[in-house]
Chain length 499, copies 2
């Protein structure tokens, strides 16, 4: 069954709702390449706004951009043992550098004479190629810190894919920094977590996140430890929206990157790496959108306000002229606006269309309303429709955009709080995660062992999303006993089913 | 022999000068991947400025961005015959999707069980995957035009590579548009040539370009015809800086992309594609830079003005404070500034360092000069050094940036004009291109045949760069006889040795 917006309602099947929304809101499309999507202009425009905001934050915190090769020599993956297990298995392998006409028939085949002596891997992440390069860039403590970010595509041959959330190829940024000391690298990893990722999620995406450290079982392959921001989706699952890794000296040792300290000693460099990806768009959708389609926080909305002129003939000329005038005035205030000049579609169709695409505010410019001096202004986040004096429309739109941004965050925060519970018995824990639903965030005590973590996950499909850096409630850090093993525990950690 | 800037002088060996400059100015570095470079932060910052300016131009002319998959199914290349010849031969071929531990010893091997049933090619350009997608997006004339651009990495397995100019992997933008009529596609291809590429080259890069159409032998594989902008390097060669292709209906036919016209007829779509790449950075270097290092037009300079405080102790404190104050005032005027706070390096080293990196204006903040109320202001483009009253420094810098931008263009234009000659005899033509030197732009008559073009190129290594859209001189379109065959010719065309 479809709602009249042409999308399966969330409550009926969240997964179908999501997949249909992505297509119908024209955010992305399937492609002919296994597990890869096409990011359509409307979806890419959100990514561009995300990139711009994040890039500004990276630069404000002292980082610069660079670009490293797409291909990684196979042997590089053999140098860091944990990393190879995590990344070099399911990947795209380049083995030839030429095609030739098939001597046995139609088409092209890889030319056997153009077989590479060493295969290349399409980067699943760039630590290895970057640390192999840093080796030449770092000699002395004066070359440190090195604070570099790259915007790039990466590829992981995922078996089960879902648009934006998990695709074989995705777009991301990956920061790779080098430091003289452990403490400096630790500060860097936390700066990114708090001042970039956490801030971006909450202030731009309007998505509240729990900031924490990953358990050993969930950390990045090759990291000393991994920080994460975890968001809640409307189907009560967790979504890892960004990670920041303190890599210790593992990559410096694997690629022999040393520096002469101020005291003249030769030491290995400390590293961090951190990334967010087009997965953020999936997170955005799952956090805010509804049965009418995309709900986009104003700061990341490609179109913030749309004007829909109405009527025919002379009336159309008048409403269109007024729409353009108001749009120009709003644009001058820095708002991203559009005037819907389509003449073949009616106002009802258009209202739904802009709802579906996640435009934050719609101004209906009707002929009679214009004559009466008041226009209808519809908020996308609520069902609210205001009647606003024509000369107040511009100010009202600007104010509404601020309100919508705050409202979406407040709503998402209230939703997360309502779906975060503290559980102390194994029976309750199991019950909470039963069935197909998500189960929300469960704060429970854990004995700190990988063994227990694995058993809990086997039994319930819930995993430890993170050990919060700041308790969500002061009582969360009162010692207790593990919900599974009964052994002592220092603090509650966040369990959830994850995307 | 090296100049005292550590770079082989241009006059001694242009090629070595270029390679050394790229490394020493920290624009790029070699990588462990055959034919691929690392774009270092200073080089990438230029690319970011280029991207921003071009992207704004694309959007002003009605285009939007999207993203299509990196990999292209092999069979897609088999669909357009000319295209396969041009692009599918030397390319990176993905044949496996997994590595596994080598059962016969150390390391990893492509898992034979993970061999792909159809190989993928890393995109050398995206016409095929994009037109395969457009097939689903275009049904009616109302879906047209489709004006899409993508920023992406592409890969061509080049045999001889040179940083920025020709690398196996490079960064670029590729526009792919779909139109209802031939004329509309033609207008699009020309809009990009004139309003984006030509304008960008001349107004941003300060590089004069000849705009023209390619001969059949030089056009894009699969195009109806190709427009180009051609720049001159300081070693008197041509460099193709950007191309815009009218693709006719070739890709629409290969991928069966039809639309219902307003009259209800089913027709094939007309296409254009157009691209510029990180090659523009190589063009920039070869057009303006000198034996002291990079010369960057202010509009594309990552650092436009650098302040170098001098002295020690209290004097240093004063000069540093003044440098910061002036830098802040300039920054508020929208200028990209830096204060050189390094204390271990002397002013002589610093002056050379900023010259090498292409900073447009250097302000020396000396203690004695500060006391006297006048500072030394050095222009990078000329050797000129001005003495400027402290309270005039900010205004002077702003004015100088404008002047340098204009001066670089004027200088490059004068250089091109001085090295553009009209030749009417085969003897003179051959002589002009003898030896290792470039030979400049030669305007000569040509009979219009591929045969003659090939013979001229074999004999002289000079190729037809383009048939100018506007004659460089009115006499260039007075009919004459081919410089090689003596057959009739309608107009002079541009011959040059090309990068």
């Amino acid at each position: 069954m479809s709602s009249n917006y042409g999308i399966t309602p969330q409550g009926e099947n969240f997964s179908e709702w999501y997949n249909e929304l992505v297509i119908k809101a024209e955010l992305a499309d399937h492609s002919a390449v296994r597990g890869c999507m096409v990011i359509k202009p409307h979806g890419y425009a959100i990514w561009e706004l995300m990139q711009r905001a994040l890039d500004d934050m990276f630069k404000e915190t002292g980082h610069v951009n660079a670009y490293f090769p797409l291909l990684i020599p196979k042997s590089f993956f053999e140098k860091e043992a944990d990393h190879v297990d995590g990344f070099a298995k399911e990947c795209a392998v380049v083995t030839h550098h030429r095609l030739k006409a098939n001597p046995d028939g139609y088409g092209l085949i890889p030319d056997p004479e153009a077989k590479l002596t060493e295969e290349y891997i399409i980067r699943p992440t760039s630590e290895t190629i970057i640390w192999n390069t840093y080796k030449n860039w770092i000699q002395s403590y004066r070359d440190l810190p090195l604070l570099i970010n790259q915007w790039a595509n990466v590829m992981r041959w995922e078996m089960r894919t879902r648009m934006f959330l998990r695709t074989a190829e995705f777009l991301w940024q990956e920061g790779h920094t080098a430091h003289a000391t452990y403490d400096e690298a630790e500060t860097e990893a936390l700066t990114i977590l708090h001042e970039c990722y956490g801030k971006f999620a909450e202030e731009w995406m309007a998505v509240p996140v729990v900031k924490g450290v990953k358990s050993e079982g969930e950390k990045f392959a090759g990291a000393d430890h991994t920080y994460t921001i975890e968001a809640m989706t409307q189907d009560l699952r967790a979504i890892q929206a960004g990670t920041s890794h303190h890599l210790g000296q593992a990559f410096a040792k694997a690629f022999d990157v040393t520096f002469q300290s101020a005291e003249g000693k030769l030491e290995h460099v400390y590293a961090t790496s951190w990334g967010v990806s087009t997965r953020l768009i999936g997170t955005l959708i799952m956090a805010h959108s509804d049965d009418r389609g995309l709900v986009c926080p104003p700061k990341l909305a490609p179109i913030q306000v749309v004007f829909v002129p109405m009527g025919r003939g002379e009336v159309w000329d008048q409403t269109l002229a007024k729409a353009k005038e108001l749009a120009a005035a709003l644009k001058a205030r820095g708002v991203r606006v559009k005037v819907d000049e389509r003449t073949k579609e009616g106002p009802g169709f258009k209202a739904k269309d802009w709802d579906l695409k996640g435009v934050c505010v719609r101004v209906d410019v009707g002929g009679r309303e214009l004559e009466a001096g008041e226009l209808g202004v519809a908020r996308r986040d609520s069902e609210e429709k205001l009647t606003v004096a024509v000369d107040r429309v511009v100010d009202t739109c600007v104010r509404l955009l601020d309100e919508i941004q705050s409202n979406l965050f407040a709503k998402a925060l209230a939703f997360r709080e309502a779906n975060t519970i503290r559980i102390d018995t194994w029976d309750d824990f199991v019950k909470q995660f039963e069935g197909e639903g998500g189960g929300g965030f469960v704060l429970a005590h854990w004995d700190g062992t990988q063994e227990t973590e694995d058993k809990i996950s086997e039994a319930t499909k819930a995993t430890i999303r993170c050990i919060p850096l700041e308790p969500l409630h002061p009582d969360d850090v009162v010692p207790g006993t593990c919900v599974f093993s009964g052994k002592p525990s220092k603090q509650r950690v966040v369990f959830a089913k994850a995307y």
